[in-house]
Symmetry: C2
Subunit: 573 residues, 2 copies
Amino acid sequence: MKLEKLVGERFKERPSDCVVDSHALMVRGGYMKAMANGIFSSYMPLKRITQKIENIIREEMDAIDGQEVLFPVVMPGSLWEESGRYNSIGKELLRFEDRSGAKHVLGMTHEEAAVHLVRDYASTYTRYPFMIYQIQTKFRDEARPRAGLIRVREFTMKDAYSFHTSQEDLEQYYMQCYKAYENVYRRAGIPEVVAVKSDSGMMGGKVSHEFMLLTSIGEDSIVICKDCSYRANMEAAECITENVRDEVSAALELVHTPEQKTIEEVCAFLGADEAKSCKAVVYQRNSDDKYIIIFLRGDREVNETKVTNYLGFDIHPAVITEESGITAGFIGPKDLEGDFIVLYDKSLEGLNNLICGANKDEYHYKGLDMERDLEKVEYHDFAKIPEGGICPVCGKHSITIKRGIEVGNIFQLGTKYTESMGMTYTDENGKSQYPIMGCYGIGVGRLAASVCEAHHDDYGPIWPISIAPWQVHLCAMRADDKNVKAYADSLYNDLQKAGIEVIYDDRQVSAGFMFSDADLLGVPVRVVVSPRNMKQSVIELSTRDKSIKESVPTENAVQRIKELVNELLEKCR
Amino acid sequence: MKLEKLVGERFKERPSDCVVDSHALMVRGGYMKAMANGIFSSYMPLKRITQKIENIIREEMDAIDGQEVLFPVVMPGSLWEESGRYNSIGKELLRFEDRSGAKHVLGMTHEEAAVHLVRDYASTYTRYPFMIYQIQTKFRDEARPRAGLIRVREFTMKDAYSFHTSQEDLEQYYMQCYKAYENVYRRAGIPEVVAVKSDSGMMGGKVSHEFMLLTSIGEDSIVICKDCSYRANMEAAECITENVRDEVSAALELVHTPEQKTIEEVCAFLGADEAKSCKAVVYQRNSDDKYIIIFLRGDREVNETKVTNYLGFDIHPAVITEESGITAGFIGPKDLEGDFIVLYDKSLEGLNNLICGANKDEYHYKGLDMERDLEKVEYHDFAKIPEGGICPVCGKHSITIKRGIEVGNIFQLGTKYTESMGMTYTDENGKSQYPIMGCYGIGVGRLAASVCEAHHDDYGPIWPISIAPWQVHLCAMRADDKNVKAYADSLYNDLQKAGIEVIYDDRQVSAGFMFSDADLLGVPVRVVVSPRNMKQSVIELSTRDKSIKESVPTENAVQRIKELVNELLEKCR
């Protein structure tokens, strides 16, 4: 491919609307163009990258006996009504009517389609286990698309669905898929991706993992134990607290706390530690705005996912009205009256001598004793684990929190979909059973952007050769020089004949211009042919990551370039 | 791949809802499953077929310097408003609103997206010509999906867009693409596809061709000259008539024709030739139901496409009400009164002594003379060319009409989209110009179904090896026989090591069952290992099309199979 003919513009300046580097570099480099909020077109370099990623994924899925299929993007609403998700998923599921008024959805995930495809076929135990997958366009009507390809509305995804006759078989296959995912990330050039335990959310099921690229621009908080192998998404990480009860419980005392509304203000005002306070956080149920009041220790934060999972419905931060009966800023568990759902976090269990709101304007209590002053309450884990918190596995205070981009996920779904959609098989004993499912996703565009986040400098991406748009970037400096042009042309042909993917820049532009374009395209191997090195009968060979830079005699050029390409490819195996 | 593990059911009986063979065989063979009207999922065999077709297309598009890109499936309505198609296209364009109420469409073609992607980049003449293409899911909300993959609502399509600075350059590239298309069909195993002139319809532009597979189940009528190379879609075929005027014009005479409403009835009643009559066909404008009356010779049929193109708006067959002022069954051009659009077909030009309606219940005229009895009228070509009609190129009465499936189309679009969307470039003289576009489409699934239509028998498809789901179908007859199983297993491994795609059937089922499954999968090369031929140390090698059947000594088996696979592959080059 001649660079001169490559469709797409390259820019020097960082676009002002790009908050992450991968987005900025992929816009600057002519990889993509926004068409609408969270909807992009891809130019040829990005298309080549994603195609290579897709092929890596395809090989790894085929290696674990996956069968590639294709589901529709547009699906009938009736199919999603069978699973119940037509109504249970929020606005991110795009629903519309066709010309005849029939309800349809745009696929954001394909559990229903997978069950539909196999439920007649897989009617007897002898047909299990099996896995089907597709690589297909998906649409998720995100409220806030962001960060270029990291969070978009339309995206290409590999989604796989496995079907089993026992939990053990699912678990065994789940581990195979786990390893296949590690292979994908290694081969795509980001072996540093880690698997973390995750919350299964709207997918259903119990055990699930997310594969995370740890980076400061990540949207997810990842809980990592520095002492053992424990890793989890914040949403799913158990928060353990060592609750130490004072030996003596002081008497409950009403104190005047004018204008001290936040727990920080109150504790400062009363000279108390936040860990010795009981704070309230208020939400409302999405469906009817009913209030949910969560009490937890003053130094803890609410983990909304845990609350939602416990309640089984969606919530949002509350707007506290005058009519609500809630005394905003002074809410406490004692003498709280009204039709609220009240929850207690484990961080409060057994504690005494706490400060809390008195449900009365400008007043708090001192000396609250959870055991003495409240009727019997149930405590559950609703809190985020803090930096330095206790590891749920090794029990040490060794938790650290990092940011991560989710570049894949795997779920043990169980029978959620097969039960709701009436898919059964006959077992060895002639008994009807529900198959057990797993599902496994990787977003292709997000993976490309994540590799760029992990491997770039100020001048552009540094693509691993396994997914780079081309393997070799050939620069003919001063292509107006006959010798340069003739040699570079023949090298271009020879490299292509040798099966190497070459992007060839023979434009008559300055060296600076040429190199900045090459940096933006991020091709791993660079070859420079120039009047000066023609005189010495050499070419200049280097790598985009600057680890290699050498002069190679022209007679060995093809041979040495091929060698280097193969070396780099070998590293991504 | 072991057949036993292949997900999908195979049936013996033809499904009652399948009207064409490709649909019936692809359902019976476990290639696809309907999810909704015109919306299908593909099982692995079909996915493998379409992927091979996509790769052939990709290679041919790359060979004519196409750059593969990717456009979104979901596009903002505002982009389609720029070209005017948001409003001009009917209900087949699926429109919906996202969560924020913004208008969107599902892409059925991507001219707007192509212009959007390149209009900033291609701002100067030096960047031309170029071609971009994608292979992507499309959605067209067809009123009447039919015939399996022949006419669906969701489909995968290769769509390409070229941009030029002169009509000559477009025409030269158009011919390159024309040849690339011929390559695609040849390589996919249907070299018999022919290019025909077509109507450009909603795409805009003037010159266009459709690539047609001639088959009785086709939806299109194809006009073919038996004497010269003229071929056209009926929609676009010029209808020439030799109008011979009688030497003497009889007087105009009102005749009573009770209950004779159709032109056939009236002519029979009056003992006249239909070619000596003037019939009326009535339509209504879609937007406001205004009536359009077309007069043409009694032995001609209206070509709606020609009428629509002439009028510039969409029409539908009329419902004639009492208030319309139209005397249904007795409509004639003389003394026709009312606010109608009246059109005359060339088949009437200069004729006399015609029968026609008298615009009066139960009365017709005899002796109508188009020149004498009507005010000056304009004649245009609104008729379908008939069997035996006059070839517009060689002038002989050599026209024959066949049915065809459209398996691709190419359009010289001109500046319709670049003008309406304000895409310009600066030419050599610094002047602003609109680029000239071409566009080029191939439906992947429809092509697969068309190959099946062209190549099948009662028992299943006969896939050309270039697109077959596998190259070799290995049958181990009586896999309970140790020798058979051991040899077949080792042959399976050896063939795979030799890079051959094998589907391996080692189920313990009857020969009949095994072969009928093999016929349904349509794999071109079949290898049978059985107790009987094990005794003779041979395998049975045959082709699905029955052209080859031979015994091969086991020691030569891999070698000979490889040879045969390569021979077949060579034929599809």
